[in-house]
């Protein structure tokens, strides 16, 4: 065997115990990120992509049951000892969280929050070393090093997100997970933050898993894209291909949506796709996308489709791929 992949997720299931029954948020996801590679995960809210992100560092809430494997450098994070896990967190893989506005502790100075990460992972760092490192990091994300003394509420949303990025890079991780890093930011700022992030990642040659509802953003930044729907991967392939020529009808809808960057509404329902994502607690069986699918047919109903490889490096979970489209379907697509 050669070197293991940086991140290798195999048959991951995450189920939340709720008052109203079990909620399977992630259902059998496979995903691989190699060193220096940027992988995008796309999907609507509630498709399980954020759960996926937090499970990578075993940060899922207490009411979640996880099965499967999450291998980081070949070692399964899910069965790791707590001590090892803590060592992997941030130093091995760090996260830039969704909604960075609240991801910083309001009562600590940002410098101290970055320093905390440094101290945790390399004990006995001198005060000057730490300060120097913080200055350097803040500089890299385009912030005045003076801002280290600021409190989160004194920064704008974009600044806070940059601080998060600086913090994520503080311990030179091999993998950065970015969970909707630009949501809730102004359009201009979004673009700035994304470029800062991707530049830094590429410069360092680290792997990155980027999660977004916005297929267009992912298509720009990523090498490969995974599309998730209702906790499952419905399509996987090279970024440009998935965006330009989606195989799965859902990926198609996402791609066709061309959500205007920063439009909050686009997060919840891609333009032109009727209906809401299904409630994972009450899945009917069969293809979970079928109720919203323009191409749904009887053949979709008996079982959930498997992810099948259709071309070199491209896979999708739809039984109707390759079937000819009816005129009605086509016109509906066109209309969308």
């Amino acid at each position: 065997m050669t070197d293991p992949s940086l991140l290798e997720i195999r048959d991951l299931h995450v189920t939340y115990a709720t008052g109203e029954g079990a909620l399977p948020a992630v259902r059998g996801v496979d995903l691989t990120v190699d060193r220096g590679q940027i992988v995008g995960v796309a999907g609507e809210s509630g498709c399980g992509k954020s759960t996926l992100a937090s499970t990578i560092l075993r940060l899922q809430p207490v009411n979640a049951t996880v099965t499967g494997e999450v291998r980081f450098n070949g070692r399964d994070i899910l069965t790791m000892k707590w001590g090892e896990l803590r060592a992997v967190r941030w130093a091995g893989a760090s996260i830039v969280f969704q909604g960075a506005l609240h991801s910083l502790n309001p009562v600590h100075r940002i410098g101290a929050q970055i320093a905390e990460a440094l101290h945790v992972h390399s004990s006995g760092l001198g005060e000057t070393t730490v300060t120097g490192r913080i200055d350097e990091l803040l500089g890299q994300v385009g912030l005045d090093p003076e801002r280290a003394r600021a409190y989160p509420h004194q920064l704008s949303g974009g600044q806070k997100q940059r601080v998060m990025i600086a913090m994520a890079l503080a311990c030179d991780p091999e993998l950065v997970v970015a969970d909707e890093p630009t949501t809730a930011l102004d359009v201009m700022v979004q673009a700035q933050v994304l470029s800062v992030l991707s530049d830094l990642v590429r410069d360092r040659g680290v792997g990155m898993l980027m999660i977004s509802h916005d297929l267009s953003v992912l298509a720009d930044l990523c090498d490969r894209i995974t599309v998730m729907y209702a906790g499952r991967v419905v399509e996987e392939g090279p970024a440009a291909k998935v965006f330009a020529d989606p195989l799965h009808p859902y990926a198609g809808a996402l791609s066709a949506a061309f959500p205007r960057v920063g439009d909050p509404a686009a997060r919840f329902a891609p333009a032109g796709l009727p209906g809401d994502p299904p409630d994972p607690r009450h899945l009917a069986g069969g293809c979970s996308f079928a109720p919203r699918c323009p191409r749904a047919a009887d053949v979709c109903l008996p079982a959930e489709p498997e992810l099948v490889t259709y071309a070199e490096g491209r896979a999708a979970a739809c039984v109707r791929i390759g079937e000819p489209r009816s005129p009605a379907e086509r016109s509906r697509d066109h209309h969308a």
Binding site: W90, I95, P106, H108, A117, E146, H153, D186
Partner: protein
């Protein structure tokens, strides 16, 4: 709605200026508010005691003040014969000078009485507050952090029960149990008083004796306050648990305790500290019942004595001190909040 601002757009100096102005005006507003409340209380205080029924001279002199001349002399000696506006002016002037009048019952300055009686109360309530804070906050943190667990269930139901209990009744039960003794449990603690009559309270001997006497009352008050504090701390911490920054802290590789203490508790302490500081304001009055039950010669017992006399001047002074205490604690709570929370401070 000002999230649009980009790093370069806001100049540093302007930023700083708005911040200082914000803090100064915050402070100023709070102090002004406190002064306003104090003035309100002064007015309430004065008029409350001028509409009192009965004639102090007659009430106190039943059987003794037999002649009109005696009554007049009494009224004159205690300033009861002035017209109302003049009395109010005198009241304001005297209060500003710390002169709260002379106790009708004890014939000593009320300020002197209150000052003297303040210390047993401070000792009792201070000790209880410190103990209750430490224990209550600990219980609240542990319960909330592992919410729904066995510890949480026990401590929450205990706190709720204590919260529902009149503290003086708890005191009576403790007296019955540990002061008097029952079954095979001996009554090892004294049932009342601050210290034994014949010890010098400032000697080591006296300090131990006072400790012995304070065990039951302090336990009573501690349990009573503790219920409040642990419930407040628990709910404050539960409010913080959903916050994103905790996930960040955990993702950074911090140990569970570090996440809890450095991040969650630090934030949850903001409301808790405020409420505890506020409670200290009610301390003066909070010990009335427990002091009554345990015969501790503090402010509370003084007020009950004054009520029975009735010694209006002492009641007036007590009410003033009690409300001033609350106002002051309120101010301090605000200042502490401002000091602890950078969002207010800077």
């Amino acid at each position: 709605m000002s999230l649009v601002a980009d790093p370069g757009l806001v100049s540093e100096s302007e930023d700083v200026q708005t911040r200082t102005r914000g803090y100064a005006s915050y402070l100023g507003l709070k102090v002004l508010g406190a002064i306003g409340s104090l003035m309100f209380m002064l007015v309430v205080n004065f008029f409350l005691f001028r509409v009192l029924p009965g004639d102090p001279a007659r009430t106190l002199g039943r059987g003794r003040l037999t002649t009109d001349a005696q009554k007049a002399a009494f009224n004159k000696a205690y300033g009861l014969n002035q017209p109302l506006p003049e009395q109010f002016w005198t009241f304001l002037k005297n209060t500003a000078h710390g002169d709260l009048g002379i106790s009708i019952q004890y014939r000593v300055p009320v300020s002197h009485l209150i000052w003297e009686r303040l210390w047993p109360t401070v000792l009792l309530v201070g000790t209880s507050t410190i103990l209750a804070t430490v224990i209550g906050v600990y219980l609240g943190i542990r319960g909330a952090w592992k919410r729904g667990g066995r510890f949480d269930k026990i401590s929450t139901s205990l706190s709720l029960t204590l919260y529902s209990m009149p503290e003086w009744w708890l005191g009576l039960m403790l007296i019955a149990g540990l002061g008097v003794g029952f079954w095979f449990v001996p009554g090892i603690f004294p049932t009342g008083g601050l210290h034994s009559p014949d010890v010098n309270p400032s000697s080591l001997h006296g300090i131990l004796d006072t400790t012995w006497h304070l065990v039951l009352p302090v336990t009573t008050l501690t349990l009573a306050y503790l219920a409040d504090y642990s419930l407040i701390m628990r709910s404050s911490l539960l409010d913080e648990l959903g916050e994103d920054y905790l996930l960040t802290a955990r993702a950074k590789g911090l140990r569970d305790v570090q996440v809890r203490n450095r991040h969650a508790v630090r934030n949850a302490m903001l409301p808790t500290t405020t409420i505890i500081a506020l409670n200290i304001g009610f301390v003066v009055s909070g010990a009335i019942t427990v002091e009554t039950v345990f015969s501790i010669p503090g402010l509370g017992l003084l007020s009950i004595d004054a009520l029975q006399a009735p010694d209006f001047w002492v009641l007036q002074g007590f009410f003033l001190v009690a409300s001033a205490g609350v106002i002051l604690a309120n101010l301090v709570a605000n200042l502490i909040y401002g000091w602890l929370d950078p969002r207010v401070r800077t």
